[in-house]
Subunit: 691 residues, 2 copies
């Protein structure tokens, strides 16, 4: 892995992209001041928003404590059994992943009441405040990821040389991924336990509306939106971004001759897209029109700017082309690979939108099936989730085929990195969701006029689709990123065992060990999600018991005479979520290490495990997130007055579907993204320890 580094390209390219990252972070702080300047609303609104802020902060602080214990243990293990730089990389990755989620969420909870307040004046103003709140998280995630990987790599290379520096980046990837499994699971369990718990006992048993302040679990529910959709998603996409960047560097080093430009390229793609994201953000702040079209316009704008700038950058970096795995590739080949990544983003967004928006047939079919009862609603939703896997997976296949034809495994990595480079603008859309959701909650709890709630409801519906769309994007990019990691596993194994190519493991499907690996790996997403759903069930049960206890102890709560104790509900969900996340989060670690340790299994079976997890993981995650999003919007479709509207039997059935969809789309499904990467990264890390 020794390579003649052209230090000038390396340094100037990386430096430029880091400047872009810093510009992005600067814009984020600018946006924060813009948001803070707007009015936080009246006394009551600030009070509610304050309670949500407090609950969210309390949860995240405790989550940090819990995760820190595990992080320290892994740090120590890496420090002694692996090497120091990998261990420090792990710390950097873990810290930044947490920080991205933490800061993003803090801004979201500051923005929520301000959106409500803005909605009292004009919808456009509300849209902008909410979007800017999300954009802070978006810019933070990509800026932090570029900065963290770039500066860590820079310092590590100066201290221990390029080879070891690249290797220790895997530690950074592990830190980011592992933390994000915890954040995704913890946040996902929290948000859905609070949501399901509040619904079961509030709506069904006591006949309260959504966000009714008499429901003791309502603040916990609003906190959940932030810790799950905002902090969890931010950590998740930070992780995918950092891992794709690192994976591309690894594949570049392992398969490209004279790899220096290949190492710089992913940084440059990332840096350029920060500028693209900023253009998109400006677009939202100055364009007018329907919320959904404005937001989609922003994505298109970002992609166009990135696509235009990728062309000169690629030619600048690879003026004479590049030799990849023994084959010469032109700069145009690489440019096309990067375009595939941008196109995939658009395609996945359109497909997920089709399957989860209430304006198209699939969701309306679920709504119609609700007329014949709970069971037919569920069957229709389950079938829709499975149907929704076909197109994304088909296009992922085409993307793999094309980008591999353009530039081998490195081409796939470039496509993934280009796809991930869009994360800045995509997360802005996603974080928009919980902010508008909270804004609606605050409007109801503060007894604001109905029109305000109508305005926030309109934004909320858009936010729901955006959340679903982002999840589709996250899982598709995660699947591709994991494939790049699998490629790195194979190359690392080859380098470690120093076997000549003809003697090397072929990971051939004819080998029963590979098949067994595929089975073991294929199993992981199934039981991982099963454990996650159980966890939501248990934590929700705890909420239900607490709410029942409060209502029994103070019957005045339901009449409004007594104030419920929101704090204990927040506290109980916090504890339950953190307790329940441990087992599923450690499952992927346990699987990989067990397979590596058992002598009858070993490296070949492990290779099968990695691919098996990616294959079934992709299907299970898409089916769950699409199905869940569709159930949610089918309910909203009925609430708009179709099939009997609110209060009809069809609505009751749709509520059941929505509740089943909750852990699907917000806990189990999205947690698969970081999970499949943890599996692959851990496998790369343990090669020198066990094989």
């Amino acid at each position: 892995m020794t390579l003649p580094l052209a230090f000038d390209i390396l340094q100037s390219g990386v430096r430029l992209s880091l400047i872009c990252a810093v510009v992005g972070l600067g814009c984020a702080f600018l946006l924060i001041t813009v948001i803070l300047r707007s009015s936080p609303g009246n006394e009551r609104m600030r009070q509610i928003s304050g309670a949500v802020q407090e609950g969210a902060k309390a949860y995240l602080n405790r989550q940090v404590m819990t995760i820190s214990v595990i992080a320290v243990i892994i740090f120590v293990l890496l420090f002694f059994f692996k090497d120091h730089s990998t261990a420090f990389g792990f710390l950097v990755g873990a810290f930044c992943s947490l920080a991205a989620g933490y800061i993003g969420m803090r801004i979201a909870v500051l923005a929520n009441a301000r959106v409500t307040q803005a909605a009292m004046q004009a919808r456009t103003a509300a849209l902008r405040v909410a979007f800017n709140g999300g954009a802070v998280t978006g810019l933070l995630v990509v800026g932090l990821a570029l900065l963290a990987v770039g500066t860590f790599y820079h310092f590590a290379r100066n201290m221990i040389g390029n080879d070891l520096a690249v290797r220790s980046l895997v530690g950074l990837a592990l830190g980011a991924s592992l933390i994000s499994v915890f954040a995704r699971l913890g946040g996902g369990i929290y948000t859905k336990a609070a949501d399901v718990g509040a619904d079961l006992v509030g709506k069904i048993e006591s006949g309260l509306e959504e966000d009714d302040p008499r429901n003791p679990a309502t603040i916990a529910d609003n906190v959940g939106d932030n810790v799950g959709d905002c902090a969890g998603m931010a950590a998740d996409v930070f992780e995918t971004y950092a891992v794709s960047l690192i994976g591309t560097i690894l594949v570049g080093v392992l398969t490209v001759t004279n790899a220096s430009a290949a190492i710089v390229y992913p940084f440059v793609l990332g840096g350029i897209s920060v500028l693209g994201a900023i253009c998109g953000i400006l677009f939202v702040n100055f364009a007018g029109g329907k919320p959904a079209s404005v937001l989609m316009g922003a994505v298109g704008m970002s992609a166009l700017v990135s696509a235009a700038l990728f062309w000169p950058a690629t030619h600048q970096l690879f003026p004479n082309g590049v030799e990849i795995a023994g084959k010469m590739r032109s700069p145009t080949d690489l440019y096309f690979a990067s375009l595939i990544g941008l196109l995939m983003t658009g395609i996945v967004v359109v497909i997920t939108n089709y399957y989860t928006s209430m304006h198209y047939k699939p969701v309306q079919k679920i709504a119609r099936a609700s007329e014949t009862g709970h069971a037919t609603n569920i069957i229709a939703g389950l079938a829709l989730g499975q149907h929704a896997t076909a197109l994304p997976v088909g296009f992922i296949g085409i993307a793999i085929l094309l980008s591999y034809n353009f530039a081998g495994l490195y081409g796939i990595a470039v496509a993934v990195m280009a796809m991930l480079s869009m994360a800045g603008i995509i997360i802005s859309l996603d974080a928009f969701g919980p902010i508008t959701d909270n804004a609606g909650g605050i409007a109801v709890m503060s007894n604001l006029p109905k029109e305000v709630r109508a305005a926030t409801d309109e934004l909320d519906a858009v936010g729901n689709t955006m959340k679903a769309v982002t999840k589709g994007y996250a899982i598709a990019s995660a699947g591709l990123a994991a494939l790049v990691l699998f490629g790195s596993y194979v190359e690392e194994l080859r380098a470690h065992l120093k076997l000549p190519p003809d003697q090397f493991f072929q990971f051939s499907l004819q080998d029963p060990k590979v098949i067994i690996g595929l089975f073991i790996g294929g199993l992981l997403p199934f039981i991982f999600t099963a454990f996650s759903m159980d966890a939501v069930g248990k934590a929700a049960g705890a909420v239900v018991r607490e709410v029942r206890r409060q209502i029994q102890a103070k019957p005045g709560i339901l009449t409004g005479a007594d104030t419920p104790d929101y704090g204990t509900c927040v506290d109980i969900v916090t504890k339950a979520a953190l307790r329940e996340m441990i087992v599923p989060a450690l499952l992927p670690l346990a699987f990989v290490i067990l397979v590596a340790v058992i002598p009858q299994l070993g490296p070949v079976v492990l290779g099968g495990v990695l691919v098996g997890t990616i294959v079934t993981g992709l299907f299970v995650a898409i089916a769950m997130t699409s199905g869940g999003g569709a159930w949610d919007n089918a309910k909203k479709f009925i609430e708009e007055g179709n099939y009997g509207g609110k209060g009809s039997p069809a609505h009751a059935a749709a509520v059941t579907g929505d509740t089943v969809g909750d852990p699907y789309k917000d806990t189990a499904g999205p947690a698969i993204n970081p999970m499949i990467k943890v599996v692959n990264i851990v496998a790369i890390l343990i090669i020198p320890i066990f094989f």
Copy 2:
């Protein structure tokens, strides 16, 4: 593939096993006369049983017509594009698969009223009549499969030589599999459309009990039990049996030096187990005790007899061992491989029983979750289904590893064949289910005393678990059988392309084409089951509309003043089921042929497709059948008086779960078995056409 045939071993071994098959068929006819000798009950009972018989016959006749059209088209295609013997093999396979289902179902509908009648005297008598009805199907399936494959092979070898004869067996396998996809889907859609339709409009809208004669769909519901669980399952297991037998022969020819004994061995295993099954049947007819223990005792008895006789037979056939893929294996190695198959049967039975019987924690957990509503019941059931995949897949992995270590790919094939050889006794248990279910229906519809219904209900609960257990067995064996077929695909491809081993496709996971294949193949079970569930929904909708129409036209139906028109309901489900089965059934064919035809894909992608389908198919099928069985029994557990019993909110939630589970466990899940084999067989067949 030329091989020096030791004709004497071949002929005497195959001949002996065919004699066993004939003995088995003889016993089946003996059992038929025993059943027909018992009393068919009073006028009213005979009338109802007659209506069910008529409906079932009408459906199967039309199904035969529909399938025949497709079968003739494929026959013609094979005749002109492939070779005549393969085309004739296809016909034989298709005919026998249909016949096994047809005859078995005819006996089941003759047995149902006789079980009700016997239940009026003694439970043991009822158990025996029901079991003997099932045993007819069990013996028919294995007897017919052995006879069909054996005699076809015998004649083909005499006419066109051993090489072509073995090849044309693949045609027979295709005939059996393709027909069984149709039978499984058609029967599955029929039974669940009638069941769900009858429940939705009868129980929920009109407040009628299960099997109430005032429900116009009740006869269709009872017909469904027979065409789905009895005819569908018989065709399915016939197919798995025939395909495993043929797969073992193929693998024997392709990997074993001096293959004659290796060709005979699977026949001998099959023949011996017919004797084992007969011992098991005798056991039920003479032993006393609890129904569940008697039935499980019969399985144990069969397995012990088979295990004892396998030992001398193996040593007789391979006195000096055998060379497999260049490595010498002792007869004991082969014997151990066969034992693994028998053990797997036991293990799968125990595991599925644990996850689906109401006496264990998993089902009781679903029942408890029903207390908090429909949604938590569904979440618990979905999670259970996914959990239930872990142990079976783990043991399948171990079985593959061990049997491959004993005797390579042929060892896996032997284990599969040994597992399938237990089909005789296992199907007897399965077909027992619909017979007791019908018997209960007849008891209610004939207004017999409550104790009779109590007696049949007890048998029915046992039957439910047995049905779930058989499905676990069917899918596990199907997964293993498909792996053997994939091995045959690889070997056939190698033989066809005449490539030296070092130039041959490795189907390596590093090859993006293999990954794309895994994705495409992995997708198939997801959308196949999605289409199947949609089909049930559509067909059930047709039933609901018809029942509503009848009740509106003749309101006297609900008071008992008017007789409902059962015939139109039967007719409507028949048409709907046959119409809706076409698309999903042709899906696997379309996938394989498309992948083969598109030049960018081709043989390597196709290899990935085959394995991808097996991997996700196994998980999806186990999750669906176990989850469905567990939901069903959770409802039964509540009906026994737990968590509020019948009529409580928990019961309503459990009914929702049961209804969701219906298409899961009886339509989509089990249809995956033949589907994954069709994919593999078609791939083998098209090698010389497209590559």
